[in-house]
């Protein structure tokens, strides 16, 4: 079923393919960014939020990516555990810091948006709280990776952690939502992006995805090159 995937899972082939694709992907990313910014700024200011609605263009895609990147990490971890493939190990490892940064970006922009909207930098709203917990899940994963010396072992062990996290995330989301309603919080973050804002938002979302793919591929390539360099320098 995954034959087509494994054909490209050979590191040498992966390097060739990704090297050829990256310039195009970067160009596409920059183009979508420019389009998204143009569309966003030319849209009429929201009657309630004014220009601050633009923060949501940065915030909402980042929050979505916070979960999406974790999903990528989980898929890579599954391959790492089942197929024991080095490329899956590297893919899972490199996705984590990117996911953590997207999550942090979502938290910061959420806070920046919240200040003019709610008058405080932080609100224990359900979605923000889930995102915060998500951030800590990334941190734990990264810390565990860095603590284990042998790379192959680190990959397997962290893959188990990623899967446990994946099982737990829906439960955490559920419990946080339950908790938020318990404390009479309403979901204020349901920032409405319908109407004139939908198209610019979707373009921005596309940009985030392209950006992630570009950064991810670049990081994977870097780690593979580092590994080759080490073996050239005579590491066992």
């Amino acid at each position: 079923m995954f034959d087509w995937l494994f054909r490209y899972a050979n590191p040498a082939r992966f390097m060739g393919l990704s090297g050829a694709l990256l310039p195009w992907l970067w160009s596409a990313a920059l183009l979508t960014l420019a389009t998204a910014l143009y569309l966003g700024f030319s849209a009429p200011p929201d009657y309630q939020q004014g220009r601050t609605v633009l923060i949501l263009f940065i915030h909402v895609p980042a929050a979505i990516m916070a979960t999406n990147v974790y999903a990528c990490m989980v898929v890579a971890s599954l391959f790492s555990l089942i197929n024991r493939h080095i490329l899956a190990d590297v893919a899972a490892r490199t996705a984590a810091p990117l996911g953590a940064i997207f999550t942090l970006l979502a938290l910061i922009t959420g806070s920046l948006w919240g200040k003019p909207m709610w008058g405080t930098w932080w609100v224990w709203d359900g979605r923000l709280t889930s995102t915060l917990v998500q951030f800590f899940l990334y941190l734990g994963y990264i810390a565990l990776w860095n603590a284990i010396e042998d790379e192959t072992r680190a990959a397997r062990i962290c893959a188990v952690l990623a899967l446990v996290g994946a099982v737990n995330i829906p439960i955490i989301k559920f419990s946080v939502d339950w908790w938020a309603t318990l404390h009479q919080g309403e979901s204020i973050m349901s920032g409405n992006l319908a109407g004139p804002f939908l198209v610019p938002f979707l373009v921005m979302m596309l940009f985030y995805m392209l950006l992630f793919v570009c950064l991810w591929l670049t990081r994977i390539r870097t780690l593979i090159l580092e590994r080759r360099l080490r073996s050239l320098m005579g590491a066992a």
Partner: protein, 208 residues
Amino acid sequence: MIQSLTAEKLTVQRGSRRLVENLSFTVKAGQALSLEGANGAGKTSLLRLIAGLLPAGAGSVTLHEGDTEISEPEERGKYVGWLGHHDALKASFTVSEQLAFFSKLYGREGDEIALLGQVGLSRQAELPCRYLSAGQRRRLALARLLASRRPLWLLDEPFAALDTVGKALVARLIALHCGEGGLVIAATHESLGLSNETLRLGNAVLKL
């Protein structure tokens, strides 16, 4: 009862390092095999692989018991009597408590006192393990090995920390085990005191 153990085209791998490649050997019931090789040649890793604790990079280890073949790592482990580097003793447990725990863990019970006599620890039975000398700790580990009553002994440096009397004891126990139809594989620098086979790791020489 195990008739023989065969290793076929084994690759011993630790993390991303390959220690041994394409290794094949057979040990029959009543035989002892000693593993030799420099530090880091992969003796301990090979023992862990045979015990089923370390997955094989390639190849297989199979135990033959009658017509059944046991090659699943965790099933293989249930036939293994293990004497590792570490003595696996808890400082606050007395010698007899320690031995009783492992006997129960291995589903064997009863003859702890006799076993302690056999390894020369009768007098220390009620002494907490923190007061034992290195040699006495090793003797207790030997008693535990006997208590497990497993057919395949995997011994990592069984002579370490023992005096001449202790070393003679180990050699006697190994001979006894082989005499009863057991199998022994030991990583050691010293002779097992038997007309045993030697497998040298690192330069891939198999001496028969």
